[in-house]
Amino acid sequence: MRPAHLVLPAVLLVAGLAAPVSAQIQASEPGSVAQVVDGTKFSIEYYRPRLRGRDSIFETQILAEKVWTPGANWATTFELSKKIQLNGTDVPAGKYSTWFIFHDRTWTLLLDPRARRFHMNRPDSVAGQIKIEVTPEAGPFTDVLAWTFPEIRVNGGKLRMNFATRQVTLDYRVEPSFEYSMPQQAARPYVGQYEFSWASEPGDTTPPKVYKLDLQYRNGSLKGTFDPSPDPTMQEVLFFSIRPHWFRMATLEKGEVFDVWTDAVFEFALQGNRATGFEIRGDGDEVWGRAKRVR
């Protein structure tokens, strides 16, 4: 018969692992962080170890493990709603347990499709694993292991892990929802100058203010400049097609798409192969504004 003093801790251990979000105080409390970029959700769930005075924990303990999940208890997981590129490597949608394999100067980030895995159950080699080389850096002293998304771009962002004085930063790119480029021939009917004004509110007899919009084909897409410029974020805009003669508008910053107006559509009217003007319509199909072509 197995001694009771051995069985009880084992039962408690299993019970604790089976219910990771139970009412209990843990040395490494669970945490999570998620970021959505252009419809792709990147979620991280992990247990957050604390240094508790062990400032040299990498040198004295973690690096010696050779393979380590950047967290504690159950392996840290990455979950992706759509496929992404992580440091240039394709990663399909799904949920992965996450590990670092230590080398002398670089580390390998290992994503394992077996997402639910205890931290001591280090992964063997199986199909579907993804390996990405990363370079650890010196980082600000961090007492509680932290995963953050310190940078967001229109097409991705940066993901960072900090613990003690180590830091690993990963760059990720999402699949774009929209096609911003168009052939020059397809853009030609719309290239020209327009006078635009917002629709007046009912009962407002004030003459509407007129804005000039110059649409040109540049660098593979239909770009517009307002005169005068509305503000720094709208110095340059981009129109991209969603249906014949229908466009959405994106604002640009340093030549890159910054914000897409998904609640409005620009409907151009054509005579022959030449646009004569457009209407901006909102989600309720109401007219927000109109433009006529002047050149």
Binding site: F226, D231, W246, D263, D283, G284, D285
Partner: protein, 144 residues
């Protein structure tokens, strides 16, 4: 010209506010509308479908701003019945098509700007002579 951004922002903020207000009026169905769902097959219009269940002006006295689009939909039930609503309500039990959004006591189009926008767009394009397939493609491009 600084007003351009400000005006646009005002309009967008107004729309966002209108959606929130609508969702507060219809807490159960409105929640579904907060996140749009892409894709999904458009339904086949049911043979002999009519606008008999579409809310009447008398039933819309407390929602006068939506009266126009209910009148539009009442004219073209055979078209609207062939469109899948993209506001998120299409998965609700009992829903068949965009026409469902305009029917019965809980008609979502009373308050949902997306249901209303799809109805107005379908009506406008139908009057312009566009086919059901073309209208479906426009709804998907605009709201999908």
């Amino acid at each position: 010209m600084p007003q351009l951004h400000a005006e646009a922002g005002t309009r967008r903020a107004f729309l966002a506010g209108a959606l929130l207000f609508a969702s507060s009026l219809v807490p159960l169905r409105g929640l579904a509308a907060m996140g749009r769902r892409r894709g999904g097959q458009h339904p086949t219009p049911r043979p002999g479908i009519t606008a008999a269940k579409v809310l009447t002006p008398e039933q819309l006295k407390d929602a006068p701003d939506s009266l126009d689009v209910f009148n539009m939909v009442r004219e073209i039930p055979e078209i609207v019945d062939g469109i899948r609503c993209q506001c998120g309500c299409a998965d609700i039990e009992g829903f068949y098509s965009l026409l469902s959004c305009y029917e019965g006591e809980g008609a979502m189009a009373r308050d949902c700007m997306i249901c209303q926008g799809e109805g107005r767009l379908a009506y406008r394009l139908h009057k312009a002579g566009e086919s059901l397939d073309s209208i479906r493609a426009a709804i998907d491009a605009r709201f999908g």
